[in-house]
């Protein structure tokens, strides 16, 4: 029974990962050739403050994106799960998923149309006399975060909704009956119950944000690179696959650490649920 899954795992996960791992420690030759001589040069290069800086910058932008998604997504999820009537709920959920029916790239291009100096937003602001000079809304980190939040907010709302929707409303009522103020009920009753949803949502948003390629390219104007762009360029433009593999490896180590952290938080929250 396990065999097909194992074969799948071996071919599509273990083998490619192993190849990345191996390639990362070979030399890169001209025009993308891989010279099969072991070397640590790629590791040294990846540890250059310049590239560590790119990684850190990406982590920072992805964290910011995740935090904003959480702040925006939580009230939305609560509203959909607890306040909306059954009919509006379905409608709202469809609306959350609706953007996925259009290609991500096209939706990102739409932001360029909206935000550029000659774009819709600047046109409206100037037309209303609010600004004299068009604002530089595009090609900076804020635009990148905006694009990422826009793209991945549904991935935060959906797991939060799933977690909140499962909570028996009577539990919250019981807390109120026992004298807990709304905030206290939220903190001691609701929060522990939806922590798995929060963690899942954060991982769903953080991971694709961290390695995102089109958003920094299109909305960031290529001025502030994220790790995904750096890796993409090693494989497609520069054709330095060994160095690209080393950067992939660095990213994988980082994500692995994140997943370990996730399972740690989940285990803790389960214990709290049992003990408390």
């Amino acid at each position: 029974m396990l065999a097909p899954a194992l074969v799948w795992w071996a071919i599509f996960l273990a083998l490619p990962m192993g190849l990345v791992l191996a390639t990362a420690f070979f030399k890169g030759g001209a025009y993308g050739a891989i010279i099969y001589e072991p070397t640590l040069r790629n590791l040294e290069r990846a540890l250059d403050p310049l590239y560590v800086g790119v990684l850190w910058h990406s982590v920072w932008l992805a964290m910011l994106t995740t935090a904003i998604c959480l702040v925006l997504g939580y009230p939305a999820a609560v509203y959909i799960a607890t306040r909306a009537s059954a009919r509006t709920r379905t409608l709202l959920l469809v609306l959350v998923i609706l953007p996925f029916w259009t290609n991500f790239l096209i939706r990102t291009y739409a932001w360029i149309v909206l935000l550029n100096r000659e774009g819709v937003v600047n046109g409206a602001l100037e037309g209303l006399g609010i600004v004299d000079e068009p604002l530089s809304l595009l090609y900076n980190d804020a635009a990148v975060v905006l694009g990422l939040v826009y793209g991945y907010l549904p991935l935060m709302i959906l797991p939060l909704y799933a977690a909140i929707e499962r909570i028996n409303p009577e539990v919250l009522e019981a807390a109120t009956d026992l004298g807990a103020r709304p905030l206290r009920a939220l903190r001691t009753v609701m929060l522990p119950l939806i922590i798995p949803g929060i963690v899942a949502g954060c991982v769903f948003v953080f991971v694709p944000s961290l390695g995102n390629i089109p958003v920094p390219e299109l909305l960031g104007g290529g001025r502030s690179e994220m790790i995904g762009n750096l890796i993409n360029r090693q494989f497609l433009t520069t054709r330095d696959w060994p160095f690209g593999s080393m950067l992939v490896l660095a990213l994988m180590v980082l994500l692995m650490a994140l997943l370990v952290l996730q399972s740690f938080v989940l285990r803790r929250s389960r214990q709290v649920g049992v003990d408390g």
Binding site: L19, V20, Y31, T237
Partner: protein, 363 residues
């Protein structure tokens, strides 16, 4: 899993497959592969929308040979296909001059027999003096051009844009409205030329100076753009951009105020060429194809549709003068093009250059 990793994995699996295939291929082929006579199917590597639509049809009508076309997205992609495939897979490849030079240096393309390409006579004399392949011994040129500044003369006040330093240290009319190319060989061009260094330098100190200057310039850039810079000019989002001459014409076609200038510090010369990768079993027919491609009507098609200059004198002279009037950079004479610095294959120095470019993008 995120997109970066997924793309990378795909690439790595492809790399491993290629390595295995290459290893099974049995190493270096020496000499010429056994040739096939008569009409054959020629396998051609070229860029999308870069040859006339009816080319295959016309070629078959004329010679009986059919074409099988494989599209490449970049020169790097083309090299990867040639190097990764069994020798003889491709009979003709379209590549830009530095890459052609690299293949010639590595003895990976067939020497040409000029007597089988009588249409070489259609070319400008300058087209036989190109440094990457003097005398067209291994390649025939298809189109050529340079890189310069493409700008909106109506949106920059009284500023005159005519040098790379206008882009690197823009005045108030240009600040925040400049884009540059972010492809390796062009990314450092404004800085290298302003500093008076060669575009083909691999000297660590010179590269570092160019990196520093380029990073400084980032604060006044709108962004990097190697794909849509001419649309940004049309919309007025950008007013001066580093761009290729032919692409600048796409902007001019929509907005007549868009001009092209070769910066006073000088620029580069690129040539798109055709070569026969080593191992082709259709060398005779590939020569026929090269001869066919050099017929004036094909060069004329490139000039009229791609808006690139072509080294084909007969084709350029057949152009409607109105076209040259609408797109003045089409009239840049071959002598001026040859004054620009030819982009060369950097060989072992490529990685230092690439590293420098990465630093600018990351910095």
């Amino acid at each position: 899993m995120n997109q970066g990793i997924r793309r990378a994995l795909v690439a790595v699996v492809a790399a491993a497959t290629l390595a295995v295939v290459a290893a099974c291929g049995g190493g270096e082929e020496s000499g010429t592969a056994a040739q096939e006579a008569g009409p054959v199917t020629l396998s051609v590597l070229t860029f999308n929308d870069y040859i006339p639509e009816n080319l295959a049809e016309e070629f078959e009508k004329k010679t009986g040979n059919t074409l099988e076309i494989t599209y490449i997205t970049s020169n790097e992609d083309g090299i990867a296909k040639i190097e990764g495939a069994e020798p003889g897979t491709y009979d003709i490849a379209f590549l830009t001059s530095p890459f052609t030079q690299g293949l010639i240096a590595a003895d990976k393309v067939e020497a040409l027999d000029g007597s089988k390409i009588p249409n070489l006579a259609n070319l400008y004399p300058e087209a036989a003096e190109l440094a990457y392949d003097p005398g067209n011994a291994h390649s025939v040129p298809y189109s050529w051009g340079t890189t310069g500044i493409c700008w909106r003369q109506d949106l920059v006040g009284d500023t005159v844009v005519d040098s790379w330093s206008d882009l690197l240290t823009p005045d108030d009319n240009l600040k925040g409205k400049v884009t540059m190319l972010d492809e390796d060989r062009w990314l450092l061009e404004p800085a290298l030329k302003t500093l008076g260094f060669s575009l083909n330098t691999t000297d660590a100190d010179e590269l570092q100076q160019a990196v520093d200057l380029s990073i400084q310039a980032k604060s006044t850039l709108l962004g990097y753009d190697a794909e849509t810079f001419y649309s940004k000019l049309v919309s007025g989002e950008a007013v001066a951009v580093q761009g290729w001459d032919g692409w600048c014409n796409y902007g001019t076609a929509e907005e007549a105020n868009i001009q092209f200038v070769i910066p006073s510090e000088g620029s580069d010369l690129w040539v798109d060429t055709l070569v026969i990768p080593k191992g082709s079993t259709h060398i005779e027919q590939a020569h026929q194809f090269m001869d066919f491609i050099l017929e004036p009507q094909n060069g004329q098609w490139v000039a009229e549709n791609i808006l690139y200059k072509v080294p084909n004198k007969a084709a350029m002279e057949a152009l409607d003068p109105a076209l040259l009037e609408q797109f003045p950079n089409m009239a840049i004479p071959p002598a001026t093009l040859l004054e620009q610095e030819a982009l060369e294959d950097l060989g072992e120095g490529q990685s230092a250059f690439t590293d420098a470019a990465s630093k600018v993008k990351a910095g």
